[in-house]
């Protein structure tokens, strides 16, 4: 299926800081030093490229901060493992704008989330809510962990107390056979 809105092939990470260390044994030639300092200067100013466009931002820094935090929790439905805060897809941009509109209109964070969930479902939340249908998701790992602990403890306790229960006392018939065997002379 072709979705022309796909615009996910983007790596927003800035290059890692720090240039290859200059070795003291071989001094750098002036042109190399110039190139190196140019690279260092560029790297010094590098910051992660943001999907959020300056024109989308709210004037009030506190509101903008709320919008950014909300955007990190909302899934971009085009690039499904990115948040709308990270994604460059058009739909993510639309949702960022709409989230900001809601905030400007005076919605609380929960109201904004409810607004988006009402339209796109729980799937749009990168952190799924805790409720009946997601019970296995949230509780499952702990149940499995507890079951694992139970098995491990059971195993060690059995080893510590000895694996065999004390044998039952001999019956009269068995005692007689034993006595007989003990009386026999070895060949």
């Amino acid at each position: 299926m072709i979705f022309p809105m796909d615009a996910c092939g983007r790596d927003a990470r800035a290059p890692k800081r720090g240039a290859p260390g200059a070795r003291a044994s071989r001094p750098l030639t002036p042109p190399m030093r110039r190139v190196l300092s140019a690279v260092l200067i560029v790297l010094a100013f590098a910051s992660p490229a943001l999907a959020v466009n300056p024109s989308e931002m709210l004037k009030d820094p506190a509101q903008e901060h709320r919008a950014r935090e909300l955007g990190k929790d909302l899934r971009c439905l085009v690039c499904q493992n990115q948040s709308i805060d990270d994604s460059d897809a058009d739909l993510a941009k639309d949702l960022r704008v709409i989230v900001r509109e809601r905030i400007s209109a005076g919605d609380s964070d929960d109201q904004v989330k409810t607004f988006v969930v009402d339209r796109y479902g729980d799937y749009v939340l990168l952190k799924p809510p805790f409720k009946g249908t997601t019970l296995v998701l949230w509780v499952g790992p702990f149940v499995l962990f507890a079951a694992g602990l139970w098995v491990v403890f059971g195993f060690y306790r059995r080893r510590a107390t000895g694996s065999q229960p004390p044998p039952a006392p001999l019956s009269a018939e068995e005692q007689r056979r034993l006595d007989k065997l003990l009386k026999e002379k070895s060949p």
């Binding site: 979705f3 022309p4 809105m5 085009v78 499904q80 058009d90 949702l95 969930v117 796109y120």
Partner: protein, 180 residues
């Protein structure tokens, strides 16, 4: 009994493998819509240039008849693929097909319909940030919604409509809703 306990990991592996195999055959793009059985969102979309009175799309336009609301855009490649089928289904007269020109320059949206044909009864323009599309929970184009006579959304199809989708899925739903 004790022996059966050793089979437990094997059983768990089997169940998980089955779930994973099922997961491989599912399309992560088709997210179930939460709007099914809910009324069409409030909207009053602007007219597409050159369509005169039968342009613009409002919530009330979707009442009285079973309708198919199709999200398209002149930028949408997959829309070209389904468009000939929409023209064909328009001729059947079974359903009122309406269009929403999503995130588009209205002039381009109109030109696109001139080029590829116009299956729509009414067309509304939903420019960026696509408020109507977001109200519909649209995740991409094309997407189509079947709306019943009372204006309640009954089905959502994600991706282009193919003859197979039409005959196997959409048409039975439309026929059923038309009886009511």
């Amino acid at each position: 009994m004790r022996r059966a306990l050793f089979l437990l990991p094997v059983a768990i592996f089997g169940i998980m493998a089955l779930l994973f195999v099922k997961g491989l055959t599912m399309d992560p793009k088709t997210i179930p819509s939460v709007l099914i059985d809910r009324p069409v969102p409030e909207m009053a979309l602007a007219a597409l240039p050159g369509r005169g009175e039968t342009s613009g799309l409002a919530t009330n336009d979707l009442k009285g008849r079973v309708s198919l609301v199709n999200i398209y855009g002149s930028w949408c490649i997959a829309c070209v693929q389904e468009h000939p089928y929409l023209l064909e289904y328009k001729k059947t007269g079974l359903v009122a097909i309406h269009g929403i020109d999503w995130r588009d320059d209205p002039a381009l949206g109109a030109a696109w319909l001139k080029k590829h044909g116009d299956p729509y009864e009414r067309v509304g323009v939903d420019p960026a940030p696509g408020r109507a599309a977001v109200d519909f929970g649209v995740t991409g184009a094309p997407e189509s919604f079947i709306v019943d006579k009372a204006g309640i959304i009954r089905y959502k199809h994600i991706g282009p409509i193919s003859p197979e989708v039409w005959t196997k899925t959409l048409l039975p739903i439309i026929r059923e809703l038309d009886k009511k």
